[in-house]
């Protein structure tokens, strides 16, 4: 394909994705801010247990799951799907057709998140971690996902560049992954619940496959596209990526059953064994990252999309190692049931996935909408706020978790003393959450500012259309609009 034609197609691809991506990212930005507000409320309750204690819907046990779900289902998954649509359409050089469907699905997804979050806050949670949304919310999410995945697959099938790029494997596998795990766990836990502790096993299987495997597939799929693009060096190498893909999905999907769980012993033993094997893909990904970035350009300057994606991939390595360490029985004896576990989850969700998505969105959305970011300096500021915030949140929480765990394992130390040992570290992590909240606000500000600029330009064009002399012809103007925007 010659270069002119290609850049022409890229512009077409971008234009075709404008509406669904704005819907996906706009809603995601909203949930991101809401989620961090809820997380702040939850965190403050540890310093002042009386804070907002008279409101049932703001009790810690509802606010905390709601905050986690807002981050995962509200931000991470729709942002991931948006980036996935863009990557698949760009890699295949095919504009999205029938845009009304993904646009509808994006709004449907956010409706599902709204229903689910409202239900959790009103006390209608299912009681399973990461699956709190009751039927009303989860069915809507499932349908929305299927529609988006179907459109992504149709675009993938129609691709003009037939050869697959490594990102393709990760993204296409992710498309299949979620419907399978989400339907299985909702059917067996909520619709026709299995009995007893099998519920917990299915819950762990789901959480591992969503938080570790799905997020890794989408996040790394994006990183394997953007890192080479930003550094100006091809991915190092195709075969290492293939190896990482296979080992990640083969081993990673078997982790997640914690050592010592009250289930037949073969289950946690299998989980620990798989976790030991999963070190192989994690280290491979580290090698790919280092080799790809070494000697490459450092484009974009400090705080640009490149920094976001680099930080995200680095956080993936760290959070994966923490995750795998927790499957090692001798380590788990200390960290199980402590703040180490939430620290790892936050590092995975925010440090790795959200940061990678921020980078991708900061890069691609101006191209899709056809306008530059209204506040580029605030985007750079967000990088620092989010980076410092997530480190302040996660590092003290992980250390506090280990301290708490060692005190819990010494029965001569009173329980309350062990629990309060974590409070010192909580001061840092609450500060971290505050920085994250500010960073998220800046992100939302840029997204909504960009949407506003775009809508304003539409309005101006409509006005111009009304004011224009009749002979110009209305149809040709509306066609010309797109081209002007791109130029």
């Amino acid at each position: 394909m010659n270069k002119d034609l290609k850049s022409n197609t890229s512009a077409e691809v971008d234009a075709s994705l404008r509406l669904p991506l704005l819907a996906l990212f706009g809603g995601a930005a909203l949930w991101l801010v809401l989620g961090s507000v809820l997380a702040m409320i939850g965190s403050i309750k540890f310093h002042a247990p009386d804070f907002l204690a008279n409101y049932a819907w703001l009790t810690y046990g509802r606010v905390q799951p709601a905050a986690d779900d807002a981050l995962l289902y509200g931000f991470c998954i729709p942002a991931g799907l948006g980036v996935l649509l863009w990557l698949i359409a760009h890699l295949g050089q095919v504009p999205m057709r029938g845009v009304i469907v993904p646009l509808f699905a994006a709004n449907l997804w956010h409706l599902g998140v709204f229903i689910g979050l409202a239900a959790v806050l009103l006390g209608d949670s299912t009681g399973f971690a990461w699956l709190e949304f009751p039927r009303g919310g989860s069915v809507v999410l499932f349908i929305a996902y299927l529609l988006l995945a179907l459109w992504a697959m149709m675009n993938f099938a129609a691709r003009r560049e037939r050869a697959l790029y490594p990102s393709h494997w990760f993204l296409v596998a992710a498309l299949f992954w979620f419907p399978w795990i989400y339907s299985t766990s909702n059917l067996f836990l909520v619709a026709w619940p299995v009995r007893g502790v099998v519920q917990a096993v299915i819950g762990w299987w789901f959480a591992d496959n969503l938080l570790f495997v799905w997020l890794a597939l989408v996040g790394l799929g994006a990183a394997f596209y953007f890192l080479p693009k930003f550094s100006g060096r091809p991915l190092q190498t195709y075969y290492l990526a293939l190896f990482a893909f296979w080992t990640l999905i083969l081993f990673g999907t078997w982790c997640g059953i914690p050592p010592g769980a009250p289930v037949p012993a073969w289950l946690p033993a299998t989980g620990s064994f798989a976790a030991a094997l999963t070190i192989v893909p994690v280290l491979t990904i580290g090698v790919i990252m280092v080799q790809t970035l070494r000697g490459g350009e450092k484009c974009g300057g400090l705080g640009g999309p490149f920094c976001f994606v680099c930080f995200g991939t680095g956080a993936f390595l760290l959070s994966s190692l923490m995750f795998l360490a927790m499957a090692w029985p001798r380590f788990a004896v200390v960290t199980q049931f402590t703040w180490f576990d939430p620290a790892q989850v936050q590092l995975q969700l925010y440090g790795f996935f959200a940061m990678t998505m921020f980078g991708a969105i900061y890069y691609l959305l101006p191209r899709v909408v056809g306008f530059a970011w209204p506040f580029p300096k605030l985007a750079r500021l967000q990088f620092w706020l989010s980076t410092v915030g997530v480190l302040l949140l996660v590092v003290p929480l992980a250390i506090g978790g280990v301290v708490q765990g060692m005190k819990l394992n010494n029965p001569n130390i009173a329980f309350l003393e062990a629990a309060k040992a974590a409070l010192f570290y909580f001061r840092f992590s609450t500060t971290g959450l505050l920085l994250i909240l500010l960073g998220n606000l800046l992100f939302a500000l840029n997204i909504f500012g960009l949407t506003f600029v775009w809508k304003l330009s539409l309005l101006k064009q409509a006005l111009a259309l009304i004011k224009a002399p009749l002979e110009t012809g209305s149809a040709s103007i509306s066609l010309r609009r797109d081209k002007e925007v791109k130029a």
């Binding site: 494997w169 096993v201 999905i249 309350l416």
Partner: protein
């Protein structure tokens, strides 16, 4: 991998494998589980919760208690101790023998050896098996939690964080009137507690013609103004009934201890 079909196959193989392993196999192994019997007894276990306690589990779920509390006791091992039940005909010799032996915190082999020595001297003994580990030492349970304990829970609330203590045996530690006081004003019964109060599960109302029999007997600094009383709503009573029903300490074949 050259086309989407192979990627699909890869995902199918990988996820299909773990689906069979972590969804299908546990269901085949445990899905048909029935009540079991208590070790060395004809009692069945577990017993289904009472009506109020069943509803209380739903309050526990709705308010997300599992965000801070686990319901799973860990155990690091077991220890045997030898108990003398009958000193026999020559108590003095037995006393001398016992003072020379270690009789607690033994392995099964050592306990058997010590019991054999005492038996040779004419005494009768029993070997007691106890679970060990920090959770047990904290009094959170007599033994580790096993799959049997959760047979009737819907939903199963294992929890993953101990910002508060484990609740597997909360019912063995406190009754429901303590639970109600603790829910309304945690600091009134646990000094320095970090648990948020659940005041919305209670009603503060003017005392009518005579005080309600359900009214909480709070220490003065937590009590409502004079002429008012704190009465638990039905959710609070159900939650307290659930918490005070929690017991998972009977000896089982899969987690043997001496009663």
């Amino acid at each position: 991998m050259k086309n989407g079909f192979w990627v699909f196959c890869a995902a199918l193989i990988a996820l299909g494998g773990s689906w069979c392993g972590f969804v299908l196999a546990p269901e085949l192994q445990l899905g048909g589980a029935k009540q079991t019997t208590v070790l060395n007894s004809s009692d069945v276990y577990p017993i289904e919760l009472s009506g109020d306690a069943t509803l209380g589990l739903q309050v526990y779920r709705a308010d997300g208690c599992a965000a801070c509390h686990t319901e799973q006791v860990r155990q690091t091992g077991t220890a045997c101790s030898v108990m003398l039940t009958d000193a026999g005909k020559n108590p003095e010799a037995i006393t001398n023998l016992i003072s020379s032996l270690v009789l607690t915190n033994l392995t099964k082999e050592d306990a058997d050896a010590a019991a054999a020595k005492i038996a040779a001297a004419g005494g009768k003994t029993e070997i007691h098996l106890t679970a060990t580990g920090p959770d047990i030492a904290r009094g959170w349970g007599m033994r580790r939690s096993v799959a049997e304990d959760y047979l009737y829970d819907q939903p199963v609330q294992l929890g993953s964080l101990r910002a508060g203590p484990d609740l597997s045996n909360a019912g063995a530690r406190a009754d429901s009137s303590w639970q109600l006081l603790h829910l309304y004003a945690p600091k009134s019964v646990v000094k320095g507690s970090t648990m948020p109060p659940f005041r919305y599960l209670f009603e503060v109302r003017k005392i009518g013609r005579e005080p309600s029999p359900d009214a909480l007997k709070l220490p003065p600094e937590f009590a409502p103004p004079a002429g008012y009383e704190v009465v638990p709503k039905s959710e609070a009573k159900q939650l307290a009934a659930y918490l005070s029903s929690l017991r998972a300490s009977v000896p089982l074949y899969s987690a043997p201890i001496s009663p």
